[in-house]
């Protein structure tokens, strides 16, 4: 399967011997996605909405069509989807747009493994409103969240916001159970799906969440694109936080009224070319199919774990159950930056650092961060063997 897939990515096709294991930070982009963006820029470049000429009409249709593709992908209706410039943008919009439901001493629940993008916006909301952040801890043996959700989610809680998959540990959180727990006290459930959308199905009805946020560039789409799902009911509660053109109905100098949901959440000219590319990226994922993706990535994750284990300590589950192909590791006496730097010189691309999860690093006593290799659909056994030989060389050189 993967040799054909590698053929579909110029970055891999043109550079034999290049091993890309950093899809957790950003995935590579298949030619088909670049092609539809090229078409937009080279053949029907126009702004969307209200251009009464054919190119603008066509661009609008293509853009709106992506809303349908996304809705189908997440199992919701197109009116429950709006586009952003990335997950960080989406999470900030939720934090600003829901601030009005938070009062002093209310509680916002996060987990210990969150990315800074799902911590800092809430921390700022808490600071402005006098609310409290409460954190569900991670068990340092199993790397699972404390499953006693009821202990953290009580009547004071207004919002629960948790990552479906950890970008450090690779663990998969029990989102459906968290949603049920949040709803039992009348709180809203937000899912940061940045690390899951390209690797497992994220059906919002099954997850029972109120909002789900992700970036396009980790799902084989272009940078500068993102998606927010909000249930019809949840979007009624969300207030716009970016204002300007396209999101309004009428404007006077003293006041304005908003366009319908979801358009009121898309102020200004969106990343039209990017969103068209994102639609193609989702179509690409669907053409491969979840069965094939999950099976292949599970196999690669197992291989990755077994190749890394002899050299390093895995930070995260050392088995492939209930986890994705995000594999963090540390090696005694070798700084994660040296691991990644040395491997990079051997054409193995991995990431090193705190992965925008400083609180998790601190509580795991890993202030120098970790090295992290992540699997994508194009990862092959040769990639894993390549990593193995580079790690062996690292050990000899630094040992």
């Amino acid at each position: 399967m993967n040799q054909t897939i590698r053929e579909q990515f110029a970055m891999l096709r043109k550079r034999p011997g290049y091993t890309y294991l950093d899809s957790g930070a950003s995935s590579l982009t298949p030619d088909s996605v670049v092609k539809v963006m090229d078409e937009y820029y080279l053949e029907y470049r126009a702004n969307i909405h209200r251009g009464m000429y054919p190119d603008s009409e066509y661009a609008s249709t293509q853009y709106e069509n992506v809303r349908t593709i996304v809705a189908n992908f997440f199992g919701c209706t197109p009116h429950e989807i709006f586009f952003t410039f990335g997950a960080t943008h989406g999470l900030n919009m939720l934090a600003y747009g829901l601030e009005h439901i938070i009062e002093k001493d209310d509680v916002i629940v996060l987990s210990e493994l969150e990315h800074h993008a799902n911590i800092v916006p809430w921390q700022q909301v808490a600071r402005r409103t006098g609310a409290i952040l409460r954190v569900i801890p991670v068990d340092k043996e199993t790397y699972e969240l404390d499953g006693n959700f009821e202990k953290y989610i009580d009547e004071k809680v207004k919002i629960v916001s948790v990552a479906q998959v950890s970008n450090v540990l690779g663990t998969i959180q029990s989102i459906t159970r968290l949603s049920q727990c949040a709803h039992s006290v009348g709180a809203l459930m937000i899912v940061d799906a940045s690390q899951s959308v390209a690797h497992m199905p994220s059906n919002v009805r099954e997850l029972q969440c109120d909002f789900l946020v992700c970036s396009g560039h980790k799902m084989y789409g272009p940078t500068g694109t993102g998606i927010v799902y909000g249930s019809q009911e949840a979007l009624e509660k969300l207030r716009p936080s970016m204002f300007g053109g396209d999101m309004i109905e009428t404007v006077e100098f003293t006041e304005s009224t908003w366009a319908d949901i979801p358009y009121r959440f898309e102020a200004g000219t969106p990343n039209v070319g990017g969103i068209i590319g994102l639609g193609e990226a989702i179509t690409y994922i669907q053409s491969i199919g979840w069965n094939a993706i999950e099976q292949h990535e599970k196999e690669m994750t197992e291989k990755l774990l077994s190749v890394i284990s002899p050299y390093a300590r895995i930070i995260g589950p050392s088995h492939s159950a209930r986890r994705t192909g995000v594999v963090s590791f540390v090696i005694d006496q070798i700084h994660p930056h040296d691991i990644a730097g040395f491997l990079g010189e051997r054409k193995v691309a991995i990431r090193a650092g705190h992965h925008c999860a400083m609180p998790l690093m601190r509580s795991c006593d890993l202030m120098q961060g970790t090295a992290r290799a992540t699997v994508g659909i194009y990862t092959t056994e040769e990639d894993v063997m390549h990593l193995d030989s580079a790690l062996k060389e690292l050990q000899t050189t630094f040992g």
Binding site: H335, P336, H337, G341, K347, G353, T397
Partner: protein, 128 residues
């Protein structure tokens, strides 16, 4: 057009690795006249530079801390370089000169590592 030429040159030269394994002046000095610690939060690195300055001359120098090969090697190179120099001359060392002393082509992301010891040292000069 982007080329991959820059990938040919390794920053992990033998002398860098050597200094990483056998650092120079890596010792805490008990009663320094000048001392400063700098942190690089993004890599968790921490480096302290200790100086003994007598009559305007650096008579003793040491560093300790944890860090990657690049920050450790640059600390060794800098401390070797400034030993015996005058306070005034050390103050005049620029970031560019520090990078030159390190002698490897360093990318944007590793520049912070390469300059950690330098910044600790400059801070130490102002610490008394």
């Amino acid at each position: 057009m982007y080329t991959h030429e820059h990938e040919l040159d390794s920053i992990y030269k033998e002398y860098i690795l050597d200094l990483y394994r056998n650092p120079k002046n890596k010792k805490k000095i008990d009663s320094p006249t000048h001392v400063s610690t700098k942190r690089n939060a993004s890599c968790g690195d921490e480096l302290t530079v200790y100086l003994v300055i007598v009559d305007g001359i650096i008579t003793e120098v040491g560093f300790d801390g944890i860090g990657c090969a690049i920050s450790q090697a640059s600390a060794s190179l800098l401390t070797e370089h400034i030993k015996g120099m005058s306070y005034e001359d050390v103050r005049k060392i620029t970031e560019e000169e520090m990078l030159k002393l390190l002698g490897i082509e360093i990318g944007l992301t590793r520049t912070k590592c390469a300059l950690l010891a330098y910044h600790s040292c400059m801070n130490a000069l102002n610490s008394n």
